[in-house]
């Protein structure tokens, strides 16, 4: 069984896992970080999106060993102590969730969207960029509103991947 080591939400972690272990299983079952969800398990819904070195990816379509040595951030690692991340705050403020199942993936995707596209996002851009995230409660209207507001609140935050490239 391969040993995998990575940093998750700032903490170094390491475990022996079967090669088949998906990143989402590693996060949920080994680390008990159950905020990252599995909606479809067929790479379509985006409920499992996490950041790996500042890049959003579907953790149900990535083996844990593929991100060996990486810096992983899950929804649990986004807030600063008791202070919600501006995107989380915007979802709360704009009622951007109904049952909440898709929300962790929506928020992780939204944060990376701002890193890639900037903080001044129009509705069409937000809707196009949400192509990989499904909400079964179909609450898209408020999700889009929340991302619009959250993006503005994130102005100036260009993300780790962009910073590293500079």
């Amino acid at each position: 069984m391969p040993t995998v080591s990575m940093t998750v939400n700032g903490k170094p972690v390491s475990a022996n896992v079967d090669a088949r272990t998906l990143l989402v299983q590693f996060l949920r079952e080994n680390l008990r970080l159950t905020g990252t969800h599995v909606g479809c398990d067929t790479s379509q819904c985006g409920a499992c999106v996490v950041h790996v070195d500042g890049v959003a990816l579907k953790s149900c379509t990535t083996f844990a060993w593929q991100v060996e040595g990486a810096n992983v951030t899950t929804i649990e690692g986004l807030a600063n102590g008791d202070k919600l991340h501006p995107m989380q705050e915007a979802f709360r403020e704009n009622h951007g969730l109904q049952c909440g199942f898709c929300t962790p993936g929506m928020i992780m995707s939204a944060v990376e969207m701002v890193w890639r596209k900037g903080s001044d996002l129009d509705e069409q851009t937000i809707r196009e960029e949400l192509d990989g995230n499904l909400c079964r409660c179909t609450g898209y209207h408020n999700i889009v509103k929340a991302i619009h507001a959250g993006a503005r609140a994130m102005a100036g935050d260009r993300g780790p991947a962009q910073q590293a490239a500079e």
Partner: protein, 267 residues
Amino acid sequence: MYAFEIHRPTTVRQAVNLLAKNPEAKLLAGGHSLVPVMKMRLASPSALIDLSKVEGLAGVEVGSRSVTIGAMTRHRDVARSPELHQVMPALASVPDSIGDPHVRNRGTIGGSIANNDPNADYPAACLGLGATIITNKRKIPADEYFQGMFDTALEPDEIITKVSFPIAKKAGYEKFKHPASGFALVGVFVSKRSSEIRVAVTGAGANGVFRATVFEEALKKRFHPKSLDGVTLSTDEMNSDIHAGKDYRAHLVGVMARRALAKAVAG
């Protein structure tokens, strides 16, 4: 998913040796075609040979007459290459139309072309530009490389290292997305490079990506959407499934070709 071993080579030579030693092994690039089919047990490789640590396989290089893209270059990095946008925005638009942002963050050109899904976008760009697929062994012209649905000229121990695209001054890609999957129900890539005209179609054919030669002939007089007026594609070679019938697909090819041409002649 069935159990498998993992190998993480750092050179193409190591990867080739591993592949030769493990006939049941498969290469792993972005994993966004392979992992889903492994989950469904439609693929059960004995080992995965991960290409992500192999040096020198990623990057976009723009020369004076061609653009070379490393096999492990992610869709996102091709779509965002400023140099590519300058010389051939039509090619940059192809990975930008693939899947969703998360898929584009992981998927690679090499994986897409090796997989040769009949609804994938890159095969249309390769055939539509007359690209050359470069492997550890040889250079394969796109016209010989794509051999039907999920079928290519690749041998079992062959690895794509890069793809070289000649720069065409006039080129355009237009895709009618399947509304649920995002894959091309029909996608058409057109290009004109001196006297060479190419019209490549993905999604529509019963046997994968193909060149619409009747359109190419019609465009020889003038490379313009109007030249396709009254020209229709035979429905014989079209695919038909629950998403669209032969007639509908053949019609869509005409519509997408005109739109791609309009883009190409606009600049």
